[in-house]
Symmetry: C2
Subunit: 265 residues, 2 copies
């Protein structure tokens, strides 16, 4: 099994305000500072819980970051976590926004690459590194994402990079959307792929080898002439990291070419 289930969280009804407060706790602390310590003192704090979740997901996959798992990691009972986090969905939101914000991107006014493309490449590199550190991110849906400081900072940077092209506001936004779509997806696939080789301890090569029957028994050359031709022309690359890198970069460059030529026209 080794199940590889992706997560598409989505926090419940009226709790949006509560979740926002947790997401933005570092900008504006949740508990008013004046409030004195009343009742039993907590043994943990929210950051410890979130960090433990991330560490566990990094090390053993998203499935390992169960409430039970995180609690064990922290040496407390499972139910104790619910003092810090309303539900697992919220915990996931917090984990996501945290790692989204880990990317080292210049804020408004900070120095940044002069060239437009280099600004995008910076975003791309940081994002790929993020996915590489946290491959479980690839398995989490980005519709209705946690709108926390991490997500907003990255979006601001990407939009500001796209804005230098001088396209109309609408197209600037759409261009940024297309770029994230490609980068998130390609970087996510890349990270999942690397992680799968590690976690299953089986190279993609070995995986394909195990499917030898496919070519010997089932594959019909007549019905797949182009695949066959590309195979014979050695168009499928060698499966190395470098080849994957090149593919990633090829797609991104073509997309940027297309956007840039629109701006020049």
């Amino acid at each position: 099994m080794k199940g590889r289930w992706r997560t598409v969280r989505h926090s419940g009804g009226g709790a949006a305000g509560r979740t926002l407060a947790l997401l933005w706790r570092k900008q504006r602390p949740v508990a008013p500072v004046g409030k004195p310590a009343l009742g039993r003192r907590p043994t943990l704090d929210l950051d410890k819980v979130v960090d433990a979740g991330i560490a566990l997901a990094d090390a053993k996959g998203l499935a390992a970051a169960s409430m039970n798992g995180v609690a064990k990691e922290l040496g407390v009972g499972t139910m104790t976590l619910y003092t810090y986090v309303p539900s697992k969905d919220e915990l996931l939101d917090l984990m996501v926004d945290q790692v989204l914000g880990e990317r080292d991107l210049p804020g408004p006014g900070d120095p940044r690459p002069a060239d437009w493309r280099d600004q995008i490449y910076l975003y791309s590199d940081q994002t790929r590194a993020m996915f590489s550190r946290h491959p479980w991110l690839a398995g989490i849906s980005t519709i209705r994402p946690p709108v926390g400081p991490g997500m907003l900072a990255a979006r601001e940077y990407l939009l500001s990079a796209c804005a230098v092209l001088g396209l109309p506001a609408r197209q600037t936004n759409t261009a940024a959307l297309a770029i994230t779509t490609y980068i998130d997806s390609a970087a996510g696939l890349e990270a999942e792929s690397e992680q799968l080789e590690k976690s299953t301890r089986q190279s993609h090569d070995a995986w394909w080898h195990e499917r030898n029957d496919l070519w010997e028994t089932y594959f019909d050359v007549e019905r797949h002439p182009t695949m066959t031709a590309i195979w014979h022309a050695e168009g499928y690359g060698d499966g190395t990291r470098e080849a994957a890198d090149e593919s990633y970069r090829f797609g991104l460059d073509r997309l940027l070419d297309g956007i840039q030529s629109l701006a020049k026209a």
Copy 2:
């Protein structure tokens, strides 16, 4: 919670051959036809199980397509399913390849649009329709996918469309990869988004409205000047289906522009 978890299956060790046989059963039947009926007769067949799984996932989400759920749907005991399918992962593989193959794409020799871009648009339209019919697909990882007839047929078509550009084999393959990356991701997001509005019975507008606090309490205009500017220039669109359509098409067109200009050079 309404959990929205994505699935990243991955079938176990030496069973690759068994899985392939199931995937390709229609091309080359699993059981040799000569074999006479021996022992108790089955009440179901594999197709019924797969179809029930798809129907359930379509109607109530991937989570509803549990072994228990599918069995109930078919009026049999849960464990009965294991006669037809080695595990839930395999069932998912079969469901995936089935819907991948539902796309109506011309095979080699069949008539197809003359223009290169129209060939890609055909692929795009069919793929979007597929995701729209089966939004749960978006939540399933595509690394080490089920290499069945459905996947291979679609890949053959896309590659053959890219081949008409006359790029070197390596680049033809890479271009096709970039195109699927964009299309699968954008179409998947679109479908997930639509489905989320239905299943939660909350429009994205309402969702954002619920997060009013974000702008009133947390959002810092100073730290997000570009977002603010785009907002004031009404660059964020109106959230209608048409606007989403336009965004999708914009990104795809820019990517195709970039690829095409490479071919002309």
